[in-house]
């Protein structure tokens, strides 16, 4: 076996190892993802979206919280501009993730970068960045992210489809729509680790409650911006003290 073939074979093996390490790193996180996907599937149907719209939204938008907000605002008959800007605001955090992973991915070819960008979610970011910072230069870590990202993608699609099927059969008194705020509570509460974040969340919540009668459901944008500005303000004020 000549050196090139040997190198090719070992690197193929390394790629596979990285891929499956990514898959197994993602598995425990699916415990949180699958119920969320089910909830989205159910909610999509109860919001008046068709089965096709709900299922395809999971691959077109592929971002849990945004899809839920989209479905809720759509069902409430909100203005398109409100739906679009709310969802864009929620997704803005991906720019932060993109910044963090950029140094590890920018050398890859365009095809790889497009696929990994599409698969960049909260969970894929969380598991991949740990691998990247530990082995970013010595191992083919893009295969790790591919494994993690694809696992999440598949789980998200399957749980959406199951949710859609269940959504047309689950009785209304099961209060499954209430699963949405519950899911968000599960996401938000562990993030409230500093005074500015807590104040930011409370401010936004209060504005949302008081702004319910504002036109086009614009409360969501106003509340979010209010919370963000308040958080940044408190942080700065704390810092200057």
């Amino acid at each position: 076996m000549d050196a090139t073939t040997k190198k090719y074979l070992t690197s193929g093996k390394m790629n596979r190892t990285e891929f499956f390490l990514g898959v197994s790193a993602m598995l425990p996180l699916l415990l949180g993802v699958v119920p969320f996907g089910l909830v989205f599937g159910v909610l999509g149907i109860s919001s008046g979206l068709t089965k096709t719209e709900t299922i395809l939204m999971s691959s077109i938008i592929f971002a849990g919280a945004s899809q839920v907000v989209f479905a809720q605002l759509w069902a409430a008959g909100s203005a398109y501009i409100v739906i679009g800007s709310s969802v864009a605001l929620i997704n803005l955090r991906h720019v932060l993730y993109s910044t963090s992973v950029a140094q590890y991915l920018e050398k890859l070819n365009l095809k790889w970068r497009i696929i990994l960008a599409y698969l960049l979610t909260d969970e894929a970011f969380a598991v991949s960045i740990r691998r990247f910072t530990a082995h970013g230069t010595s191992k083919p870590v893009h295969f790790f992210m591919l494994g993690a990202g694809l696992t999440l993608w598949l789980a998200w699609q399957i749980s959406t489809i199951i949710g859609v099927i269940a959504g047309s059969t689950i009785p209304e008194n099961w209060e499954l729509a209430f699963a949405i705020p519950l899911t968000f509570i599960a996401i938000v509460v562990p993030l409230l680790r500093s005074i500015p974040t807590i104040v930011s969340a409370l401010t936004s919540g209060l504005i949302a409650i008081c702004g319910q009668s504002l036109p086009w459901n614009s409360w969501i944008i106003i509340a979010a911006l209010g919370g963000i500005l308040m958080g940044a303000f408190i942080e700065k004020w704390n810092h200057n003290k």
């Binding site: 679009g84 803005l92 932060l96 970068r113 409650i209 319910q212």
Partner: protein
């Protein structure tokens, strides 16, 4: 129309995701923006949580006590377990038995 909005949002989301490794040189997040972005997820999601529990229409505050109790229990579970499944189950069971 829904397809147009959905695809547009999907596209914007993709642009956000690839933004910093798109291959277009010299795109960097302004540091000043960084300070705000950390508050985005908690702000947006808190607004949705709050609005699904309580609303104020200018005259009266509307809420369902069962939902407030269930949400409080969910907050405790989320804090203790950090698990979506545990929080969901705790909150839903509370609302079912109340």
């Amino acid at each position: 129309m829904i397809w147009f909005v959905m695809i547009l949002i999907g596209f914007i989301n993709f642009i956000f995701r690839i933004s910093m490794f798109s291959g277009i040189p010299n795109i960097h997040l302004p540091l000043s923006l960084n300070r705000y972005v950390v508050y985005v997820p908690t702000s947006v999601l808190s607004a949705i949580i709050a609005s699904s529990l309580i609303s104020f229409n200018g005259q009266e505050v509307l809420y369902e006590a069962e939902k407030l109790v269930a949400a409080s229990i969910a907050v405790i579970f989320a804090y203790l377990t950090k698990s979506v499944s545990a929080t969901l189950v705790a909150g839903l069971i509370t609302i079912w038995i109340m």
